[in-house]
Symmetry: C2
Subunit: 237 residues, 2 copies
Amino acid sequence: MGSDTRQRMADAAFALFEEHGYDATTVDQIVERAGVSRSTFFRAFGSKEEVIFPRHDDLQAKITARLESGNAQTFRLAIAEAAGLVLAQYLDEGQVALTRYRLTRSVPALRDREIASTLGYQRLFREHARGWLAELGGPDVDLHAELLAASVVTAHNVVLRRWLRGETAAPWREFDDAMVAVFRGFDPAPTGGGSTVVVVGSDLPPDEVAARVRVALAGSDPTLAPADRLDGPTLGR
Amino acid sequence: MGSDTRQRMADAAFALFEEHGYDATTVDQIVERAGVSRSTFFRAFGSKEEVIFPRHDDLQAKITARLESGNAQTFRLAIAEAAGLVLAQYLDEGQVALTRYRLTRSVPALRDREIASTLGYQRLFREHARGWLAELGGPDVDLHAELLAASVVTAHNVVLRRWLRGETAAPWREFDDAMVAVFRGFDPAPTGGGSTVVVVGSDLPPDEVAARVRVALAGSDPTLAPADRLDGPTLGR
DNA sequence: GTTTGGGTGATACTGAGTGTCACACATCGA
DNA sequence: TCGATGTGTGACACTCAGTATCACCCAAAC
Protein backbone atom coordinates (compact mmCIF):
# COMPACT_ATOMS: atom_id res chain seq x y z
CA MET A 1 0.00 0.00 0.00
CA GLY A 2 1.64 3.17 -1.13
CA SER A 3 0.77 5.41 1.76
CA ASP A 4 4.14 6.96 1.04
CA THR A 5 3.23 7.50 -2.61
CA ARG A 6 -0.04 9.06 -1.54
CA GLN A 7 1.75 11.51 0.73
CA ARG A 8 4.23 12.44 -2.01
CA MET A 9 1.35 13.27 -4.35
CA ALA A 10 -0.42 15.34 -1.72
CA ASP A 11 2.77 17.26 -0.93
CA ALA A 12 3.44 17.94 -4.60
CA ALA A 13 -0.14 19.08 -5.10
CA PHE A 14 -0.13 21.48 -2.15
CA ALA A 15 3.21 22.92 -3.21
CA LEU A 16 2.06 23.49 -6.79
CA PHE A 17 -1.25 24.97 -5.65
CA GLU A 18 0.66 27.44 -3.52
CA GLU A 19 3.02 28.29 -6.37
CA HIS A 20 0.66 28.65 -9.31
CA GLY A 21 -2.83 28.47 -7.86
CA TYR A 22 -5.34 25.64 -7.98
CA ASP A 23 -6.79 26.19 -11.44
CA ALA A 24 -3.45 26.82 -13.08
CA THR A 25 -2.07 23.54 -11.73
CA THR A 26 -2.76 20.46 -13.83
CA VAL A 27 -2.81 16.90 -12.64
CA ASP A 28 0.01 16.18 -15.07
CA GLN A 29 2.20 18.68 -13.24
CA ILE A 30 1.36 17.10 -9.90
CA VAL A 31 2.17 13.56 -10.97
CA GLU A 32 5.33 14.71 -12.71
CA ARG A 33 6.63 16.35 -9.56
CA ALA A 34 5.59 13.40 -7.43
CA GLY A 35 7.19 10.99 -9.88
CA VAL A 36 4.10 8.86 -10.42
CA SER A 37 1.62 8.31 -13.23
CA ARG A 38 -1.79 9.84 -13.77
CA SER A 39 -3.34 6.46 -13.11
CA THR A 40 -1.85 6.33 -9.66
CA PHE A 41 -3.11 9.79 -8.82
CA PHE A 42 -6.71 9.18 -9.80
CA ARG A 43 -6.72 5.79 -8.14
CA ALA A 44 -5.61 7.37 -4.87
CA PHE A 45 -7.76 10.51 -4.87
CA GLY A 46 -10.49 10.09 -7.42
CA SER A 47 -10.37 13.74 -8.36
CA LYS A 48 -8.16 16.79 -8.21
CA GLU A 49 -10.32 18.30 -5.47
CA GLU A 50 -9.96 15.38 -3.12
CA VAL A 51 -6.24 15.93 -2.69
CA ILE A 52 -7.07 18.94 -0.59
CA PHE A 53 -9.62 17.50 1.78
CA PRO A 54 -8.76 15.13 4.61
CA ARG A 55 -10.21 11.72 5.22
CA HIS A 56 -13.44 12.19 7.14
CA ASP A 57 -14.16 8.55 7.86
CA ASP A 58 -12.26 8.12 11.09
CA LEU A 59 -13.34 11.49 12.46
CA GLN A 60 -16.98 10.73 11.75
CA ALA A 61 -16.57 7.45 13.56
CA LYS A 62 -15.14 9.20 16.62
CA ILE A 63 -17.98 11.72 16.59
CA THR A 64 -20.56 8.99 16.34
CA ALA A 65 -18.95 7.14 19.23
CA ARG A 66 -19.03 10.23 21.45
CA LEU A 67 -22.63 11.00 20.54
CA GLU A 68 -23.72 7.45 21.23
CA SER A 69 -22.16 7.62 24.68
CA GLY A 70 -24.56 10.43 25.60
CA ASN A 71 -28.17 10.26 26.64
CA ALA A 72 -31.19 12.56 26.85
CA GLN A 73 -29.99 14.02 30.15
CA THR A 74 -26.42 14.67 29.08
CA PHE A 75 -26.91 15.47 25.43
CA ARG A 76 -25.50 18.98 25.64
CA LEU A 77 -22.09 17.88 26.74
CA ALA A 78 -22.13 15.01 24.26
CA ILE A 79 -22.83 17.38 21.39
CA ALA A 80 -20.33 19.98 22.58
CA GLU A 81 -17.55 17.45 22.97
CA ALA A 82 -18.38 15.77 19.69
CA ALA A 83 -18.14 19.15 17.94
CA GLY A 84 -14.88 19.66 19.82
CA LEU A 85 -13.48 16.59 18.06
CA VAL A 86 -13.82 18.42 14.76
CA LEU A 87 -12.05 21.49 16.09
CA ALA A 88 -9.32 19.30 17.53
CA GLN A 89 -8.81 17.71 14.12
CA TYR A 90 -8.24 21.08 12.45
CA LEU A 91 -5.94 22.31 15.20
CA ASP A 92 -3.92 19.12 14.86
CA GLU A 93 -3.56 19.62 11.14
CA GLY A 94 -1.95 22.99 11.74
CA GLN A 95 -0.27 24.32 8.62
CA VAL A 96 -2.19 22.01 6.28
CA ALA A 97 -5.47 23.37 7.58
CA LEU A 98 -4.30 26.93 7.01
CA THR A 99 -3.23 26.19 3.45
CA ARG A 100 -6.53 24.48 2.73
CA TYR A 101 -8.34 27.50 4.11
CA ARG A 102 -6.48 29.81 1.74
CA LEU A 103 -7.41 27.56 -1.18
CA THR A 104 -11.07 27.13 -0.26
CA ARG A 105 -11.38 30.87 0.14
CA SER A 106 -10.04 31.64 -3.31
CA VAL A 107 -11.45 28.80 -5.43
CA PRO A 108 -15.27 28.66 -5.61
CA ALA A 109 -15.39 24.97 -6.46
CA LEU A 110 -13.38 24.12 -3.37
CA ARG A 111 -15.42 26.45 -1.23
CA ASP A 112 -18.64 24.74 -2.28
CA ARG A 113 -17.18 21.38 -1.49
CA GLU A 114 -15.95 22.47 1.93
CA ILE A 115 -19.38 23.82 2.79
CA ALA A 116 -21.10 20.66 1.66
CA SER A 117 -18.71 18.53 3.69
CA THR A 118 -19.75 20.19 6.94
CA LEU A 119 -23.25 18.92 6.31
CA GLY A 120 -22.01 15.43 6.92
CA TYR A 121 -21.21 16.35 10.51
CA GLN A 122 -24.42 18.31 10.84
CA ARG A 123 -26.31 15.20 9.83
CA LEU A 124 -24.76 13.19 12.68
CA PHE A 125 -25.70 15.84 15.23
CA ARG A 126 -29.20 16.15 13.83
CA GLU A 127 -29.97 12.45 13.94
CA HIS A 128 -28.78 12.03 17.51
CA ALA A 129 -30.45 15.23 18.65
CA ARG A 130 -33.71 14.06 17.14
CA GLY A 131 -33.65 10.95 19.29
CA TRP A 132 -32.84 12.85 22.46
CA LEU A 133 -35.39 15.58 21.89
CA ALA A 134 -38.07 13.02 21.13
CA GLU A 135 -37.27 11.32 24.40
CA LEU A 136 -37.52 14.64 26.25
CA GLY A 137 -40.90 15.18 24.67
CA GLY A 138 -40.86 18.71 23.30
CA PRO A 139 -42.88 19.90 20.30
CA ASP A 140 -41.56 20.09 16.73
CA VAL A 141 -38.80 17.60 17.33
CA ASP A 142 -37.60 17.52 13.72
CA LEU A 143 -37.33 21.29 13.44
CA HIS A 144 -35.58 21.69 16.77
CA ALA A 145 -33.15 18.89 16.05
CA GLU A 146 -32.30 20.55 12.76
CA LEU A 147 -31.89 23.94 14.43
CA LEU A 148 -29.71 22.53 17.16
CA ALA A 149 -27.44 20.74 14.71
CA ALA A 150 -27.15 23.82 12.51
CA SER A 151 -26.38 26.03 15.49
CA VAL A 152 -23.68 23.75 16.83
CA VAL A 153 -21.97 23.47 13.45
CA THR A 154 -22.27 27.20 12.87
CA ALA A 155 -20.85 28.08 16.27
CA HIS A 156 -18.01 25.64 15.71
CA ASN A 157 -17.28 27.17 12.33
CA VAL A 158 -17.21 30.70 13.74
CA VAL A 159 -14.49 29.74 16.18
CA LEU A 160 -12.65 27.64 13.62
CA ARG A 161 -12.60 30.46 11.08
CA ARG A 162 -11.30 32.88 13.69
CA TRP A 163 -8.46 30.49 14.38
CA LEU A 164 -7.78 29.94 10.68
CA ARG A 165 -7.58 33.70 10.20
CA GLY A 166 -5.24 34.03 13.13
CA GLU A 167 -7.75 36.10 15.07
CA THR A 168 -7.58 34.08 18.25
CA ALA A 169 -4.93 32.40 20.32
CA ALA A 170 -7.41 30.69 22.64
CA PRO A 171 -9.74 28.71 20.34
CA TRP A 172 -10.76 26.27 23.03
CA ARG A 173 -11.93 28.95 25.37
CA GLU A 174 -13.91 30.60 22.56
CA PHE A 175 -15.29 27.24 21.57
CA ASP A 176 -16.58 26.54 25.05
CA ASP A 177 -18.17 29.99 25.19
CA ALA A 178 -19.77 29.43 21.80
CA MET A 179 -21.26 26.13 22.91
CA VAL A 180 -22.66 27.82 25.97
CA ALA A 181 -24.24 30.46 23.76
CA VAL A 182 -25.81 27.77 21.58
CA PHE A 183 -27.38 25.88 24.44
CA ARG A 184 -28.50 29.00 26.26
CA GLY A 185 -30.73 29.81 23.32
CA PHE A 186 -31.80 26.24 23.00
CA ASP A 187 -33.99 24.91 25.68
CA PRO A 188 -36.08 21.85 24.89
CA ALA A 189 -38.03 21.80 28.17
CA PRO A 190 -38.12 25.15 29.98
CA THR A 191 -38.44 24.78 33.72
CA GLY A 192 -37.98 28.35 34.85
CA GLY A 193 -34.90 27.68 36.89
CA GLY A 194 -34.48 25.29 39.77
CA SER A 195 -32.01 23.69 42.07
CA THR A 196 -28.95 22.13 40.57
CA VAL A 197 -26.93 19.21 41.81
CA VAL A 198 -23.46 18.66 40.49
CA VAL A 199 -21.47 15.66 41.52
CA VAL A 200 -18.00 15.52 40.10
CA GLY A 201 -15.26 13.06 40.73
CA SER A 202 -12.41 13.61 38.36
CA ASP A 203 -8.71 14.15 38.05
CA LEU A 204 -9.15 16.73 35.30
CA PRO A 205 -7.71 20.20 35.84
CA PRO A 206 -10.13 22.45 37.75
CA ASP A 207 -10.45 24.79 34.77
CA GLU A 208 -11.45 21.90 32.55
CA VAL A 209 -14.07 20.74 35.02
CA ALA A 210 -15.41 24.27 35.27
CA ALA A 211 -15.68 24.59 31.51
CA ARG A 212 -17.66 21.39 31.20
CA VAL A 213 -19.98 22.29 33.99
CA ARG A 214 -20.65 25.62 32.35
CA VAL A 215 -21.68 23.89 29.13
CA ALA A 216 -23.92 21.52 31.02
CA LEU A 217 -25.48 24.39 32.97
CA ALA A 218 -26.24 26.38 29.83
CA GLY A 219 -29.55 24.58 29.50
CA SER A 220 -32.42 24.78 31.90
CA ASP A 221 -32.21 21.20 33.06
CA PRO A 222 -28.63 20.96 34.15
CA THR A 223 -28.94 17.76 36.11
CA LEU A 224 -25.64 15.97 35.98
CA ALA A 225 -25.58 12.21 36.21
CA PRO A 226 -22.16 11.48 37.67
CA ALA A 227 -21.72 8.03 36.21
CA ASP A 228 -22.34 9.28 32.71
CA ARG A 229 -20.53 12.49 33.01
CA LEU A 230 -16.83 12.79 33.31
CA ASP A 231 -16.22 9.07 33.09
CA GLY A 232 -17.17 9.08 29.45
CA PRO A 233 -14.88 9.69 26.52
CA THR A 234 -12.84 12.83 26.87
CA LEU A 235 -11.47 15.14 24.29
CA GLY A 236 -7.91 14.34 25.10
CA ARG A 237 -6.88 17.90 24.86
CA MET B 1 -31.84 38.94 -27.08
CA GLY B 2 -32.56 35.25 -27.22
CA SER B 3 -34.45 34.85 -24.02
CA ASP B 4 -36.46 32.46 -26.12
CA THR B 5 -33.35 30.52 -27.08
CA ARG B 6 -32.34 30.38 -23.45
CA GLN B 7 -35.70 28.93 -22.46
CA ARG B 8 -35.56 26.33 -25.25
CA MET B 9 -32.19 25.14 -24.00
CA ALA B 10 -33.39 24.95 -20.41
CA ASP B 11 -36.49 22.99 -21.44
CA ALA B 12 -34.44 20.56 -23.51
CA ALA B 13 -31.99 20.10 -20.66
CA PHE B 14 -34.67 19.40 -18.04
CA ALA B 15 -36.42 16.96 -20.37
CA LEU B 16 -33.21 15.06 -21.11
CA PHE B 17 -32.19 15.01 -17.44
CA GLU B 18 -35.54 13.45 -16.61
CA GLU B 19 -35.23 10.91 -19.43
CA HIS B 20 -31.64 9.76 -19.06
CA GLY B 21 -30.35 11.29 -15.86
CA TYR B 22 -27.98 14.20 -15.38
CA ASP B 23 -24.65 12.46 -15.87
CA ALA B 24 -25.82 10.45 -18.87
CA THR B 25 -26.94 13.61 -20.65
CA THR B 26 -24.26 15.44 -22.62
CA VAL B 27 -24.31 19.08 -23.58
CA ASP B 28 -24.23 17.98 -27.22
CA GLN B 29 -27.55 16.22 -26.75
CA ILE B 30 -29.06 19.29 -25.13
CA VAL B 31 -28.01 21.69 -27.86
CA GLU B 32 -29.07 19.22 -30.55
CA ARG B 33 -32.58 18.99 -29.13
CA ALA B 34 -32.76 22.74 -28.61
CA GLY B 35 -31.49 23.36 -32.12
CA VAL B 36 -28.58 25.58 -31.10
CA SER B 37 -24.82 25.28 -30.99
CA ARG B 38 -22.56 24.42 -28.08
CA SER B 39 -21.23 27.95 -28.16
CA THR B 40 -24.69 29.35 -27.52
CA PHE B 41 -25.25 27.01 -24.60
CA PHE B 42 -22.07 27.84 -22.76
CA ARG B 43 -22.50 31.52 -23.44
CA ALA B 44 -25.94 31.44 -21.86
CA PHE B 45 -25.26 29.20 -18.87
CA GLY B 46 -21.52 28.98 -18.38
CA SER B 47 -21.75 25.37 -17.32
CA LYS B 48 -23.97 22.33 -17.47
CA GLU B 49 -24.87 22.74 -13.80
CA GLU B 50 -26.16 26.26 -14.17
CA VAL B 51 -29.03 25.20 -16.39
CA ILE B 52 -30.68 23.76 -13.32
CA PHE B 53 -30.39 26.65 -10.91
CA PRO B 54 -32.46 29.81 -11.18
CA ARG B 55 -31.18 33.34 -11.33
CA HIS B 56 -30.57 34.51 -7.79
CA ASP B 57 -29.83 38.13 -8.55
CA ASP B 58 -33.33 39.58 -8.47
CA LEU B 59 -34.34 37.54 -5.44
CA GLN B 60 -31.27 38.65 -3.53
CA ALA B 61 -32.13 42.22 -4.40
CA LYS B 62 -35.65 41.81 -3.05
CA ILE B 63 -34.32 40.23 0.13
CA THR B 64 -31.86 43.04 0.62
CA ALA B 65 -34.60 45.62 0.11
CA ARG B 66 -36.80 43.99 2.74
CA LEU B 67 -33.95 43.68 5.21
CA GLU B 68 -32.98 47.29 4.75
CA SER B 69 -36.52 48.39 5.48
CA GLY B 70 -36.23 46.92 8.97
CA ASN B 71 -34.57 48.33 12.05
CA ALA B 72 -33.25 47.12 15.37
CA GLN B 73 -36.73 47.14 16.89
CA THR B 74 -38.44 45.28 14.07
CA PHE B 75 -35.65 43.03 12.91
CA ARG B 76 -37.51 39.78 13.61
CA LEU B 77 -40.31 40.50 11.20
CA ALA B 78 -37.87 41.83 8.63
CA ILE B 79 -35.85 38.63 8.74
CA ALA B 80 -38.90 36.39 8.73
CA GLU B 81 -40.46 38.14 5.77
CA ALA B 82 -37.18 38.26 3.91
CA ALA B 83 -36.84 34.50 4.37
CA GLY B 84 -40.43 34.21 3.23
CA LEU B 85 -39.42 35.75 -0.10
CA VAL B 86 -37.21 32.73 -0.72
CA LEU B 87 -40.00 30.32 0.09
CA ALA B 88 -42.35 32.27 -2.14
CA GLN B 89 -39.88 31.97 -5.02
CA TYR B 90 -39.79 28.18 -4.73
CA LEU B 91 -43.55 27.88 -4.41
CA ASP B 92 -43.95 30.03 -7.51
CA GLU B 93 -41.61 27.82 -9.48
CA GLY B 94 -43.83 24.85 -8.80
CA GLN B 95 -42.96 21.91 -11.02
CA VAL B 96 -39.52 23.24 -11.90
CA ALA B 97 -38.62 23.38 -8.21
CA LEU B 98 -39.75 19.80 -7.75
CA THR B 99 -37.72 18.56 -10.71
CA ARG B 100 -34.66 20.42 -9.47
CA TYR B 101 -35.13 18.84 -6.07
CA ARG B 102 -35.14 15.36 -7.60
CA LEU B 103 -31.94 16.15 -9.46
CA THR B 104 -30.12 17.72 -6.54
CA ARG B 105 -31.02 14.74 -4.39
CA SER B 106 -29.59 12.20 -6.82
CA VAL B 107 -26.51 13.98 -8.16
CA PRO B 108 -23.84 14.82 -5.55
CA ALA B 109 -22.33 17.64 -7.58
CA LEU B 110 -25.69 19.38 -7.84
CA ARG B 111 -26.42 18.78 -4.18
CA ASP B 112 -23.17 20.45 -3.17
CA ARG B 113 -23.93 23.42 -5.34
CA GLU B 114 -27.45 23.79 -3.98
CA ILE B 115 -26.14 23.75 -0.44
CA ALA B 116 -23.50 26.34 -1.21
CA SER B 117 -26.06 28.59 -2.86
CA THR B 118 -28.08 28.91 0.35
CA LEU B 119 -25.04 30.48 1.94
CA GLY B 120 -25.54 33.51 -0.23
CA TYR B 121 -28.83 34.19 1.46
CA GLN B 122 -27.41 33.35 4.86
CA ARG B 123 -24.77 35.98 4.28
CA LEU B 124 -27.40 38.67 3.71
CA PHE B 125 -29.19 37.76 6.92
CA ARG B 126 -25.96 37.62 8.86
CA GLU B 127 -24.71 41.02 7.77
CA HIS B 128 -27.98 42.76 8.56
CA ALA B 129 -28.40 40.89 11.83
CA ARG B 130 -24.92 41.92 12.87
CA GLY B 131 -25.86 45.56 12.52
CA TRP B 132 -29.08 45.22 14.44
CA LEU B 133 -27.58 43.16 17.25
CA ALA B 134 -24.72 45.60 17.62
CA GLU B 135 -27.24 48.39 17.95
CA LEU B 136 -29.13 46.45 20.61
CA GLY B 137 -25.88 46.00 22.49
CA GLY B 138 -25.68 42.34 23.36
CA PRO B 139 -22.46 40.36 23.84
CA ASP B 140 -20.80 38.25 21.12
CA VAL B 141 -22.49 40.08 18.28
CA ASP B 142 -20.68 38.22 15.53
CA LEU B 143 -21.46 34.81 16.92
CA HIS B 144 -25.10 35.60 17.55
CA ALA B 145 -25.58 37.13 14.12
CA GLU B 146 -24.11 34.02 12.58
CA LEU B 147 -26.32 31.77 14.70
CA LEU B 148 -29.42 33.77 13.89
CA ALA B 149 -28.75 33.68 10.15
CA ALA B 150 -28.01 29.96 10.22
CA SER B 151 -31.16 29.26 12.22
CA VAL B 152 -33.40 31.23 9.90
CA VAL B 153 -32.03 29.56 6.81
CA THR B 154 -32.22 26.15 8.45
CA ALA B 155 -35.80 26.65 9.56
CA HIS B 156 -36.73 27.85 6.10
CA ASN B 157 -35.09 24.82 4.53
CA VAL B 158 -36.93 22.43 6.82
CA VAL B 159 -40.27 23.78 5.68
CA LEU B 160 -39.17 24.01 2.06
CA ARG B 161 -37.99 20.42 2.00
CA ARG B 162 -41.25 19.23 3.53
CA TRP B 163 -43.11 21.00 0.73
CA LEU B 164 -40.76 19.62 -1.92
CA ARG B 165 -41.36 16.12 -0.62
CA GLY B 166 -45.09 16.66 -0.62
CA GLU B 167 -45.29 16.32 3.15
CA THR B 168 -47.27 19.47 3.74
CA ALA B 169 -50.11 21.33 2.10
CA ALA B 170 -49.79 24.38 4.34
CA PRO B 171 -46.19 25.52 3.96
CA TRP B 172 -46.92 29.11 4.96
CA ARG B 173 -48.41 28.11 8.25
CA GLU B 174 -45.46 25.84 8.96
CA PHE B 175 -43.10 28.58 7.93
CA ASP B 176 -44.62 31.06 10.35
CA ASP B 177 -44.42 28.50 13.13
CA ALA B 178 -40.81 27.78 12.26
CA MET B 179 -39.92 31.47 12.41
CA VAL B 180 -41.57 31.72 15.79
CA ALA B 181 -39.51 28.77 16.98
CA VAL B 182 -36.32 30.41 15.76
CA PHE B 183 -36.94 33.71 17.53
CA ARG B 184 -38.20 32.10 20.69
CA GLY B 185 -34.80 30.49 21.15
CA PHE B 186 -33.05 33.66 20.11
CA ASP B 187 -33.23 36.54 22.46
CA PRO B 188 -30.59 39.25 22.09
CA ALA B 189 -31.62 41.21 25.19
CA PRO B 190 -33.55 39.21 27.77
CA THR B 191 -35.86 41.38 29.85
CA GLY B 192 -37.70 38.73 31.80
CA GLY B 193 -41.09 39.57 30.41
CA GLY B 194 -42.92 42.87 30.49
CA SER B 195 -45.85 44.76 29.16
CA THR B 196 -46.47 44.74 25.46
CA VAL B 197 -48.05 47.36 23.31
CA VAL B 198 -49.25 46.48 19.87
CA VAL B 199 -50.66 49.09 17.60
CA VAL B 200 -51.87 47.83 14.27
CA GLY B 201 -53.59 49.68 11.52
CA SER B 202 -53.91 47.50 8.45
CA ASP B 203 -56.30 46.14 5.88
CA LEU B 204 -54.61 42.75 5.90
CA PRO B 205 -56.74 39.71 6.76
CA PRO B 206 -56.96 39.15 10.51
CA ASP B 207 -55.17 35.83 10.26
CA GLU B 208 -52.30 37.50 8.49
CA VAL B 209 -52.06 40.19 11.12
CA ALA B 210 -52.13 37.56 13.83
CA ALA B 211 -49.34 35.59 12.22
CA ARG B 212 -47.10 38.63 11.96
CA VAL B 213 -47.77 39.64 15.52
CA ARG B 214 -46.87 36.17 16.68
CA VAL B 215 -43.53 36.38 14.94
CA ALA B 216 -42.88 39.78 16.42
CA LEU B 217 -43.85 38.55 19.90
CA ALA B 218 -41.56 35.55 19.74
CA GLY B 219 -38.72 37.65 21.13
CA SER B 220 -38.59 39.22 24.52
CA ASP B 221 -38.74 42.80 23.31
CA PRO B 222 -41.85 42.77 21.17
CA THR B 223 -42.33 46.48 20.93
CA LEU B 224 -44.04 47.26 17.69
CA ALA B 225 -43.48 50.60 16.03
CA PRO B 226 -46.64 51.08 14.00
CA ALA B 227 -45.18 53.33 11.34
CA ASP B 228 -42.48 50.85 10.52
CA ARG B 229 -44.53 47.77 10.84
CA LEU B 230 -47.27 46.82 8.46
CA ASP B 231 -46.69 49.75 6.16
CA GLY B 232 -43.45 48.26 4.95
CA PRO B 233 -43.04 45.88 2.04
CA THR B 234 -45.33 42.90 2.22
CA LEU B 235 -44.89 39.40 0.99
CA GLY B 236 -47.63 39.68 -1.54
CA ARG B 237 -48.90 36.25 -0.78
C1' DG C 1 8.66 -22.70 -9.69
C1' DT C 2 4.27 -21.31 -10.39
C1' DT C 3 0.44 -18.86 -9.00
C1' DT C 4 -2.04 -15.09 -7.05
C1' DG C 5 -3.04 -10.39 -5.94
C1' DG C 6 -2.02 -5.55 -4.94
C1' DG C 7 0.14 -1.55 -6.67
C1' DT C 8 1.64 0.74 -10.69
C1' DG C 9 2.27 2.48 -15.71
C1' DA C 10 0.81 3.33 -20.59
C1' DT C 11 -2.59 4.43 -23.71
C1' DA C 12 -6.80 5.77 -25.73
C1' DC C 13 -11.10 7.69 -25.12
C1' DT C 14 -15.20 10.75 -23.58
C1' DG C 15 -16.90 15.06 -22.39
C1' DA C 16 -16.84 19.75 -20.11
C1' DG C 17 -15.25 24.17 -20.71
C1' DT C 18 -12.38 28.01 -23.28
C1' DG C 19 -10.79 30.85 -27.00
C1' DT C 20 -10.95 32.58 -31.52
C1' DC C 21 -12.62 33.69 -35.86
C1' DA C 22 -16.46 34.18 -39.01
C1' DC C 23 -21.17 35.23 -40.25
C1' DA C 24 -26.02 37.00 -40.04
C1' DC C 25 -28.82 40.68 -38.96
C1' DA C 26 -30.63 44.74 -36.99
C1' DT C 27 -29.99 49.63 -35.91
C1' DC C 28 -28.35 54.08 -36.72
C1' DG C 29 -26.34 58.14 -38.70
C1' DA C 30 -24.52 60.39 -42.90
C1' DT D 1 -28.58 53.98 -50.06
C1' DC D 2 -24.52 53.01 -47.94
C1' DG D 3 -21.32 51.99 -44.46
C1' DA D 4 -20.33 51.53 -39.43
C1' DT D 5 -21.33 49.38 -35.17
C1' DG D 6 -23.05 46.02 -32.01
C1' DT D 7 -25.20 41.74 -30.70
C1' DG D 8 -26.36 37.04 -31.05
C1' DT D 9 -24.94 32.96 -33.05
C1' DG D 10 -22.16 29.05 -35.38
C1' DA D 11 -17.84 26.44 -36.43
C1' DC D 12 -13.65 24.79 -35.05
C1' DA D 13 -9.63 23.68 -32.43
C1' DC D 14 -7.72 23.12 -28.13
C1' DT D 15 -6.87 21.97 -22.98
C1' DC D 16 -7.68 19.20 -19.30
C1' DA D 17 -10.34 16.24 -15.90
C1' DG D 18 -11.87 11.82 -15.39
C1' DT D 19 -12.68 6.75 -17.06
C1' DA D 20 -11.61 2.29 -18.94
C1' DT D 21 -8.57 -1.19 -20.32
C1' DC D 22 -4.58 -3.78 -20.70
C1' DA D 23 0.14 -4.72 -19.42
C1' DC D 24 3.75 -5.02 -16.02
C1' DC D 25 6.34 -5.68 -11.67
C1' DC D 26 7.03 -7.82 -7.42
C1' DA D 27 6.27 -10.07 -3.22
C1' DA D 28 4.00 -13.58 -0.64
C1' DA D 29 1.77 -18.03 -0.64
C1' DC D 30 1.30 -22.67 -2.19
